[in-house]
Amino acid sequence: MNSETLNTLDTYSKNKYKYGFVTEIDTEKPKKGLNEDTIKFISLKKNEPKWMLDWRLKAYSKWKKMKEPKWANLSFPEIDYQDIYYYSAPKGFEKKPKDLSEVDPKLIETYNKLGIPLEEQKVLAGVAVDVVFDSVSVATTYKGELEKLGIIFCSIGEAIQKHPDLIKKYLGSVIPPGDHSFSALNSAVFTDGSFVYIPEGVKCPMELSTYFRINAENTGQFERTLIIADKGSYVSYLEGCTAPKRDDNQLHAANVELIALEDAEIKYSTVQNWYPGDEDGKGGIYNFVTKRGLCAGKNSKISWTQVETGSAITWKYPSCILKGDNSIGEFYSVAITNNFQQADTGTKMTHIGKNTKSKIISKGISLGKSQNTYRGEVSFLRKADKARNYTQCDSLLVGNQCGAHTVPYIDSKNNTAVIEHEASTSKINEDQLYYCRQRGLSHEEAVSLIVNGFCKQVLQELPMEFAVEAQKLVSISLEGSVG
């Protein structure tokens, strides 16, 4: 390896987290620790009906009996669940502000620093934003326009109050609270998140988007998102995360459930940039996310796109259950790990219905001393006639202290189903680098160009509004070479 490459690697590894700042807002918290009182406190604060509290307590009793899943290729100190605050809402936010002018100016400033001025987005981009600051929804825009179409886009807390029928029917139907310990934990203590319902035949005219932001120290975020696309509808949902710099590890265990009925399509895009910890691997977010979509009806489609650049630990497997005949599941992922980050991410495609199709494109890039694992399961059940899967997972290694791993599980029980899987692991091609350098690009520009090309297949799946941000994040992850 030449000295220039080493220099570039050095700049990579010294790259600081750009968005590390803290907004000082008083927060109101219950006591640390998890017990029935904490759950009752949360439920009371959110003004929830009794059935919801019972649901939470039931999940809690399940959680008590469960152990964390251990199969992932991750190492981290044991999580002390009694040393975490489970609810944190900025004071005075129990009553929601009616519009942006009522929102704390400091909050607005925070978003401005992140480059997503609400006002501007509202006017220019036409994106309705359901902003989550810590755990309470702060402002919701463009609601009126959505309401005209009958689309429900609100916080999950509001949905529990206003649409109990839908919540009772669908909450926990894709990810049962007893699925594994993180889903049980989330079900017991989830505080906020989004709820989307698209009525029959409606094509949602704009990309729905939520910005999550962890702010208060030691506050685990337990988001719960539920998206239901009724017959023949379409929705594209964006989720993005940035978090301020902290030294203590923060736990994040979100649950996202998608349900697509007959002929419906859901597109779910994520850009994740939680605080990854410093160069020595200190601090950073623990991200244990369960995302699962159910293609319940015929001809339905669910598509996951994710760009993962942050978090000290990423444990995330957006999955599709292809139950309806002819349904389609897609998964596009870019995961970049640097320093001491560990990522164990992938997907699970379960083919149940006939003629179901799934496609998995996963790109992993490891730098520094990080470990990047793709873990995916594709299974064809007995009745999945003529089902089809294509999987491609490529890894790129930059530097000789990182690791890239691929662990696919492939299970076929149907003799008309076809499954194809391919994977490759390599470093940045010297010839390509040489070619770019020869044409006058600096070493850093060349690396950036090649990495961007490597990820392109996934990035182009992102909606326009998000693509810019995603490219920014990829650049930041490679900063020093990309600029």
Partner: protein, 408 residues
């Protein structure tokens, strides 16, 4: 009967039970069994196995009466008949065959690549009752054919064979497993390849439904050596092929290939594992399977590249054809890479026979069955045509024809 009682009861029939070192090692193994209890849920290598046959078995071993024969019919060619896992000693200036000794046991038990997670190897170490050691001397080019014979019903053979290829030697090894009786073999081959040596290892497995075969290979390759293995599994009984390879010095190569043909209720578990521990090494893992009726198969392949193993090339390929509604195939091609200057890839496919190809052949006047058979043969043609031994090629062709005759 649990494993511990079974062991204590039959201790006098088991190798090296007087050696203290070995005894303490075995006590540790018993502890592992006690703690782990063959936890199927967390140990995927136990998938699809009817464990009862292997944990709760009745130990029975007979020392063969007739000593096995070694023929030196041609100059560099030897035929060995191993009876109940044993074979008589032999020595000339090219090879040396002896019984396995305490030191061979200890030598392997210190290696922890497989220990702890491969229970069948641990069972082998615990109940060891037969085996031999073959040394190929420096710079010799040798051919050996081994026929494995089991004399009685209900025997449980726990056999361990050591092969050592000394510097510059070359060995062509053909092993045949064709047992018709109701017995279980648990065989562990430990292979050491010294500098610049080569071993071509063929395993032909064709047992009757009542015979269970568990075969594990552990090979370690030093500088410039090559280990190439080909497994042909036509067995109607349960077969477990687990093959581990370690590339410990530069420029060594491991090539692990296999094909299996399953039908009826049969199950086969396969695993290949290559550990790259030095620079400039190559590995290749290719398994192909054809599954008919209600058969089940699993294939785990794994390439592990250590941080120092730069310039590694590691390839994996797994292909499965399901001929029936009720067959199932599970594959897990795994890559674990800690070095950056590597070329590693894996590919895996499972599916039916290509309908377009069948249509093409049928439109030229062939029946559906004939077309299917032709396509199955062509699926594995690459593996068959690469056999350079004419006699063996014929044997395998015959077995293939027998398998195809049952395909409907």
């Amino acid at each position: 009967m649990n494993i511990q009682d079974n062991y204590l009861k039959n201790k006098k029939n088991i190798f090296f039970s007087e050696n203290k070192d070995i005894q303490s090692h075995r006590e540790k193994l018993i502890n592992i069994f006690e703690n782990d209890r063959f936890d199927k849920k967390n140990n995927e290598s136990l998938k699809n196995i009817n464990l009862k046959n292997f944990i709760d078995f009745k130990y029975k071993y007979l020392i063969p009466e007739e000593t096995s024969v070694i023929n030196n019919n041609q100059e560099n060619s030897y035929t060995i008949v191993s009876v109940n896992g044993q074979c008589s000693s032999f020595k000339d200036d090219k090879i040396e065959i002896t019984k396995i000794l305490d030191e061979d046991y200890n030598d392997f038990s210190k290696n922890d690549t497989i220990k702890n997670n491969d229970h069948f190897v641990n069972l082998n170490s615990l109940f060891l009752n037969s085996g031999f050691k073959i040394v190929i001397k420096k710079n010799n080019d040798i051919k050996i054919k081994i026929s494995n014979i089991i004399t009685d019903d209900d025997l449980t053979i726990f056999q361990k064979n050591n092969y050592i290829c000394e510097e510059g030697s070359s060995l062509n090894l053909i092993e045949e497993y064709e047992n018709k009786n109701n017995s279980t073999s648990n065989i562990l081959n430990v292979i050491k390849l010294e500098k610049n040596s080569q071993l071509n290892h063929f395993l032909i497995q064709d047992n009757s439904p009542s015979h269970n075969l568990i075969i594990t290979t552990h090979s370690s390759c030093k500088k410039d050596s090559t280990y190439a293995q080909k497994v042909y599994n036509f067995s109607e009984g349960y077969v477990r092929n687990f093959h581990y390879s370690e590339l410990i010095e530069t420029n060594s190569e491991a090539d692990l290939q296999g094909i299996f043909f399953l039908k009826d209720n049969n199950t086969s578990n396969n695993k290949t594992f290559v550990k790259h521990l030095a620079e400039d090494c190559k590995s290749n893992q290719v398994y192909k399977g054809i599954l008919n009726d209600r058969s089940k198969a699993t294939y785990f392949s794994n390439t592990h590249v250590d941080q120092v193993a730069q310039k590694t090339e590691g390839y994996q390929l797994s292909k499965g054809i399901l001929l029936s509604d009720n067959a199932s195939y599970f594959s897990k091609p795994e890559l674990k890479i800690y070095a950056d200057d590597v070329k590693c890839s894996h590919g895996s496919t499972i599916g039916p026979i290509d309908e377009n190809a069948i249509f093409y052949l049928r439109s030229r006047g062939m029946s559906k069955i004939a077309a299917t058979k032709i396509l199955i043969s062509s699926f594995i043609n690459e593996e068959l045509s690469s056999i350079d031994n004419e006699q063996m090629s014929e044997i395998i062709q015959k077995k293939l024809v027998r398998y195809l005759s049952k395909v409907k």
